[in-house]
């Protein structure tokens, strides 16, 4: 354990503490940081209109959809895959994990073909042919559509590590328990899931839940990748991370960017506290 903690301390704890301190400074990456106290935070909550009007609502909307839906889907898919003969499992698991495995690169290409803004895009040409619309929709540039598309794409790509952990967890539940339960009067598969599978793999469920909230709150590349710009059109798909990137690497106001990421950290902590309350080990367990 000691070596891990040593490295953990050097490369994670110390940088994080410095990061927290940077949040209280004015830092443009060239001059030495100047102490600024709470100015960054005051700015953020009183004057940063983009942050208040777009970033916060967008992030919550995004996380509220993608988190729970992705999580439930991950569990359902993992459970279904676990019902199959073992020779097939690897391949289905691979298929579900592929979007996470290939990362942003393929994600953008696949979905851009779908949502291309002229009549060559699949969805546009379908809608045109069937007479639903008169002229092609610029899906990824339109502020009315961008968020919805981001949500759909993110759910598609959300079968990541949490999904793998759930799959391993479900497969790890002892088969004898199911037999015992059948004798005790459990009949349907749903009862099996509710009374045996989920309680037996609580630690994995908690892991997947925390990973899902961390993942959705920390994601942000999608909007910029789909629309091809940061900031996204009319800030329609602007999330926390885009805001941080915008300030850190475009405007080089690193102190301010650090302050924003501290707020993000705080939100994430509250989110996972809540999950811990839902799924975590209770007293006396």
């Amino acid at each position: 354990m000691a070596p891990f903690l040593l490295l953990f301390g050097t490369f994670i704890v110390v940088p994080v503490i410095v990061g927290i301190l940077l949040g209280f400074t004015y830092f443009n990456s060239i001059e030495f940081p100047k102490w600024a106290g709470w100015t960054n935070y005051q700015m953020l909550f009183s004057q940063d209109i983009i942050f208040l009007q777009h970033i916060i609502p967008n992030t919550f909307k995004f996380a509220l959809f993608v988190g729970p839906v992705g999580y439930v889907m991950a569990f359902m898919l993992a459970w279904l895959i676990a019902q199959l003969p073992s020779t097939l499992r690897v391949w289905y698991a691979l298929a579900m994990y592929t979007p996470s495995l290939t990362g942003g690169l393929a994600l953008v290409v696949v979905w851009q073909v779908m949502f291309t803004g002229d009549r060559t895009g699949y969805i546009n040409s379908f809608l045109l042919n069937w007479g639903f619309i008169e002229k092609p929709i610029l899906f990824t540039q339109d502020k009315d559509y961008l968020m919805t598309i981001m949500i759909v794409v993110s759910i598609w790509a959300s079968m990541g590590l949490g999904f793998l952990a759930i799959l391993a967890g479900i497969l790890g539940v002892d088969k004898q328990l199911y037999e015992a339960a059948r004798i005790d009067g459990i009949r349907s598969r749903l009862q099996e899931i509710w009374y045996i599978t989920i309680p037996m793999m609580k630690p994995q469920m908690l892991f997947a839940a925390v990973m899902s909230i961390v993942g959705t709150l920390k994601s942000g590349g999608i909007g910029t990748q789909l629309s091809g710009m940061n900031p996204t059109p009319d800030y329609a798909g602007q999330l926390f991370m885009n805001h941080i990137d915008d300030y850190a690497f475009t405007r080089l106001e690193l102190g301010y960017a650090s302050a924003v990421s501290m707020v993000l950290l705080f939100v994430t902590i509250i989110g996972s506290r809540f999950l811990w309350y839902l799924f975590g080990p209770k007293e006396g367990e």
Binding site: M1, F4, Q83, L84, P203
Partner: protein, 278 residues
């Protein structure tokens, strides 16, 4: 197979086909001749497959000081060292957190959880300063050490270890096993699925990591493949040259990820077939 399974296989196959689209795309893209690469909208399937892109990737660096194989070798060394390191250290850290009572245990675990949630951007600059002061610039250690502490790994492994009943470990101790013996002979085999899952993640993290090359390595001879590929693709938006090499490189980068995933998932499923815990 009963009726339900057949139905299940059918619907999952349809869904899988959809999920596998990026894979199909990457494979086909790498073999497309130049004129097909620029079709708009992009096509999924290659019409006239060619090996041209791979030759281009190899020949690009012929005139340069360093051949592309040097980056591949670097990547290989760094990835192997860090993957093993991440998995081993993660397990060694998770075991006491899960099964030993000691003061500060909750605090440490809380800290690890917390670090999961920090945005990477905040850590960039301080990390750079630390690596510089430790004298790790331009060394393999500079690639490997910053990656080794993998909080996700510890978290996942601990969650799996929590499931192993204490009685089992106590029984082994009564039979005369040392603490490390219990860890190696009892705990590790029981959490193989978690270890396999973490291997996938560790490998992906290390193999795709271009950050340490960009920040900590000034000497070109120490940079890794993903970094090299970002230099290929950096100004590609309006650039016709090298698109082919980039698409071939994407495939080269991707295949190891795929192989590790398949190997590890097999391990997960094989362990399940004959595990006798609980």
């Amino acid at each position: 197979m009963d009726k339900m399974q057949i139905w299940l296989v059918l619907s999952l196959t349809l869904l899988s086909a959809f999920m596998l689209l990026p894979l199909v795309y990457i494979f086909n893209h790498a073999f497309k001749p130049l004129h097909e690469l620029f079709l708009f909208p992009p096509t999924f399937f290659v019409e006239q497959p060619t090996m041209q892109n791979f030759y281009e990737l190899l020949s690009l660096t012929e005139s340069a000081v360093l051949p592309v194989t040097r980056y591949m070798l670097n990547s290989l060394i760094v990835t192997v060292l860090s993957t093993i390191g991440m998995v081993v250290l993660g397990a060694l850290c998770a075991y006491p957190l899960s099964k030993h009572e000691f003061p500060g245990r909750k605090l440490i675990f809380g800290g690890i959880l917390l670090s999961l949630m920090v945005a990477v951007e905040t850590m960039g600059i301080p990390r750079y300063v630390i690596v510089k002061h430790l004298g790790l610039m331009n060394t393999y250690a500079g690639h490997v050490l910053p990656l080794l502490a993998l909080p996700v790994g510890v978290f996942l492994l601990k969650q799996f270890m929590d499931q192993v009943p204490n009685e089992l470990l106590e029984a082994a101790k009564l039979d005369g096993a040392s603490d490390f013996g219990v860890f190696r002979r009892i705990m590790l085999p029981l959490v193989t699925p978690a270890m396999a899952t973490i291997t996938i993640l560790a490998f992906q993290t290390a193999w795709n990591n271009a950050e340490t090359s960009a920040l900590f390595m000034q000497s070109d001879a120490m940079k890794t493949l993903p970094f090299y590929i970002t230099t290929l693709t950096a100004n590609l938006a309006n650039n016709v040259a090298r698109q082919g090499a980039a698409s071939a490189a994407a495939l080269v980068m991707f295949i190891p990820n795929l192989l590790i995933f398949i190997a590890s998932q097999r391990k997960v499923i094989a362990t399940m077939a004959h595990s006798g815990i609980k």
